[in-house]
Assembly symmetry: C2
DNA sequence: CCAAGTCACCGAACCGGTTCAGCTATCATC
DNA sequence: GATGATAGCTGAACCGGTTCGGTGACTTGG
């Protein structure tokens, strides 16, 4: 294994000092165009790649951002959301040649501890906070720590840090009006974790819109996003006396599970029961019938979050007027497919 | 923002030299038990956390391992395999307080470039190679580079690096014998990417076993693991003159898609068509009927791979007899569920 | 009582970059 | 022609750890 090439080697080869090489490589003033070209040539020729640790040590930046996920391995596995989000984040980061450090945690305490450690070690320059809760201890924690962070979800009130989010209320209205137009009067919704911010927002939007439309019933049951719970709650709802004619699921996994239960009970989906899923992953198109869903570009969402974080930590200085603060993305669009139809008589 | 605590601060507070502090913190000989306790006490009190960059610079280790995934965002999203694998890897790594660096790439060339850069920058101490191909350029590349790596899949012949794998042939025999016992004589298999090593192994095992059992037909069609292709191929197979009575899918996503197609064609799954899925994710239990599948503990598999990599890079020196070389894991187990039944008359 | 050996600790070099004060040569200015 | 400004570069300090040679104190043994 040949030894690594350092700037000292380049300096020696070019007959200049280490400082000059550093200026040349970083495109800073302080060297003439001629020597810069010469140095760059030698560096390329010798296959120079700067040592991260050395740079981080002097500049005190990690050239990496972190993300801690507080979900079980099983949930992370089936839930397409996270991988799509991560792949979007990753795309933006690697364009700026930043690394992504990933950690899976069990509890909030553990998550806070991870942030504390990452920041103390300078292992990351900033973090992305997923699954933002209505009153989330992490927001103040990272702000107090001074750790740059972006909330993936919002809006967060009294925001001490930027948030990137979709308007969740509008799609809720859209879907309820759509179901109403199809004749549905008894609608149920299997919602996500109740403490999450967007769950609360959707809850409110549904209650409000249902009242405005004068629906006969608008039941909301909270769940943990797993297929098991989705199936269990669906089974209960469909066995009740006055069963709903349409069910809205807060994610696609539960919707697929719900579809399975409908099959199991011998209910024809679309004729006897309509199903709508949030978060349109390819999963929604695999089933028969395909699931009507609320489509968001989650990968783009992730990219967006990463961009905001980058401007926040000043990794790539964009136009100065581009403020690094809360951004709202295009809301989810309704994609009607086979799983919704006119309400049964 | 209060300034970070460094070992110099601790040294000053304890009235000793930086060197002594370093010895004390790392549990090395060179300080008395008394001063060690004193130093540890002060360090804890001041909330000391060592700076990664500084340590990496002197020790020249990154305290992180890397993983580059060469799959599209969409595939990564629906395919539960990767997230489960990653979560297993992550569990082992964070136990050893190593970080996980993730990157998503488009082409092999790009992937090789990522390895070269990571290693040159000393951003990682080693990597895990996923989706091992039958003749995989990455194996020699990382070996030549001197970059510690573990192949997640195998066995790889002429191995210059360790591999961790499951025996894929045995489950193939098991499933075919099971289907045979149920009376199936025309079996099809929608296989994965043809260049992948385990695909080749499964191909061979199926062909061989089918011949041994004297099956009427054993069709294998290769795909790219996506639900779209799974559906398309299933549709074609089921529309053919002498359609199979059982289909084996190389992953769960395609199996779910296949189930959708069966519904679409009005075929009763288990009575008219049996379906078997590889890689039992929770997805397989969401559908109706639930999918018979070949269960592997992918998360444990990931942990295992990470352990081998750790011993390889010597991060945690285990018992010396524990050689860091190719390990074979427990093969997948057949989990019979509702999607398989006796062949139709 | 002194030589040898051991223990605990210090001081300094080192890893590979960045950055800044300072020096020199060049050039414009009055 | 003295003065000042500036571009181009050097040398050294610095970031925060690790590591190693060396030193003084203390124990041990003959």
């Amino acid at each position: 294994m040949t030894r690594r090439v350092t700037i000292a080697d380049i300096a020696a080869a070019a007959g200049v000092s280490k400082g000059a090489v550093s200026y040349a490589l970083n495109g800073r003033p302080g060297v003439s165009e001629n020597t810069r070209r010469k140095i760059l040539g030698i560096a390329a020729e010798m296959g120079f790649v700067p040592n991260r640790a050395a740079r981080s040590l002097s500049v005190s930046s990690a050239q990496a951002v972190g993300i801690a996920l507080r979900r079980s391995a099983r949930t992370l596995g089936i839930e397409p959301y996270f991988m799509e989000l991560i792949s979007g984040i990753e795309a933006t980061l690697s364009a700026g040649s930043l690394g992504l450090t990933l950690q899976i945690v069990d509890t909030v305490e553990e998550e806070l501890e991870v942030y504390r450690r990452w920041w103390a070690e300078r292992r990351v320059d900033g973090v992305l906070l997923c699954d933002v809760g209505a009153s989330d201890p992490r927001l103040d924690f990272v702000a107090d720590l001074g750790l740059p962070a972006v909330a993936v979800g919002g809006p967060v009130e009294g925001a001490r840090l930027p948030a990137v989010w979709h308007d969740d209320a509008e799609p809720c209205r859209e879907i309820l009006e759509y179901l109403y137009a199809l004749g549905h009067r008894r609608v149920a919704r299997i919602a996500g974790l109740p403490h999450l911010l967007h769950t609360a927002i959707r809850d409110a939007a549904h209650t409000e819109t249902a009242a405005a439309l004068g629906l006969e019933s608008m039941t909301t049951v909270h769940s943990d996003y797993t297929g098991e719970q989705g199936a269990r709650i669906t089974r209960r709802l469909l066995s009740s006396a006055n069963r709903p004619t349409a069910i809205i699921y807060d994610n696609d996994v539960m919707a697929v599970a719900g579809l399975g239960v409908a099959h199991e009970l011998g209910l024809h989906v679309s004729e006897q029961l309509s199903i709508v899923a949030w978060d349109d992953s390819p999963l929604c198109r695999l089933t028969h019938p395909a699931l009507t869903s609320l489509t968001r570009d989650i990968s783009a969402y992730g990219s967006h979050c990463a961009e905001v974080l980058l401007t926040l930590i000043g990794a790539d200085a964009p136009s100065p007027e581009k403020r690094a603060f809360s951004v709202q993305c295009r809301p989810a669009q309704l994609s009607p497919r086979g799983s919704t139809g006119p309400a049964p008589a």
